[in-house]
Amino acid sequence: MDMPPPGFVALPSATFVIPKGGQTLHSITEAFVYWIALGMKATYERMRKDVYFVSMIALSETGTDFSVDFFCPYPDLIGFLKKNLHNGLSPKDAARMSNEFDYKMIRKMALNPDTPTPLLSLIPRKKKYSLSTRTR
């Protein structure tokens, strides 16, 4: 084994079991896009620059549930998802809450069960506007 140098930790991850409740693989994946956006807004509110990052999602189906393995380099985002999904934030809730900010979803790949699939996110820096008056 090639041990990691000091300061490195395992890639943050979490597994979520979500009741199907009429959802499909695509709608669950879209819900994760909403949840990611909400999580980044909550945990990295004071971003000084645009954040681009990739998370990995792998979905599988059982009789009544979806199992979602989620991997992301940002530990705080994993913490947000663990807290809110275990508290019952539904895909519908996430979609409703995400209406509070602008987002654009671009689908470029097929989604296959049990296949690790990358989710690309670009969170633009919060824009600040200032007004000034000038007198002569």
Binding site: P4, V9, P75, K108, P116, P118
Partner: protein, 89 residues
């Protein structure tokens, strides 16, 4: 937006996110039984990030694309990654 195949370039795997993107794209394009032919391994080794090269050795030896237990990050610098595989071990 360019086609997903753009993410299959080893040289682009310099950050954790780009590496995950590479692995995910590889997984989606994976066709069991297909042979990967590399003409000039030394050039690939020279031009690719060292952690990606360790992944490639692991992939060559065990045909594993995504093994999350081997990926490590720095919490204060999440885009810096380490791949746990010792060449020739």
């Amino acid at each position: 937006m360019i086609a997903p195949a753009q993410f299959l370039r080893p040289r682009s795997s310099t950050t954790t996110s780009d590496f995950l993107n590479f692995l995910g794209t590889m997984s989606l394009h994976n066709d069991p039984g297909r042979t990967m032919i590399i003409d000039d391994v030394e050039t690939v080794k020279r031009l690719s990030p060292p952690q990606w090269w360790k992944w490639f050795r692991h992939y060559s030896d065990e045909d594993v694309i995504f093994d999350p237990d081997r990926i490590f990050i720095k919490p204060d610098k999440p885009e810096e990654y380490f791949y746990d595989y010792e060449e020739g071990a």
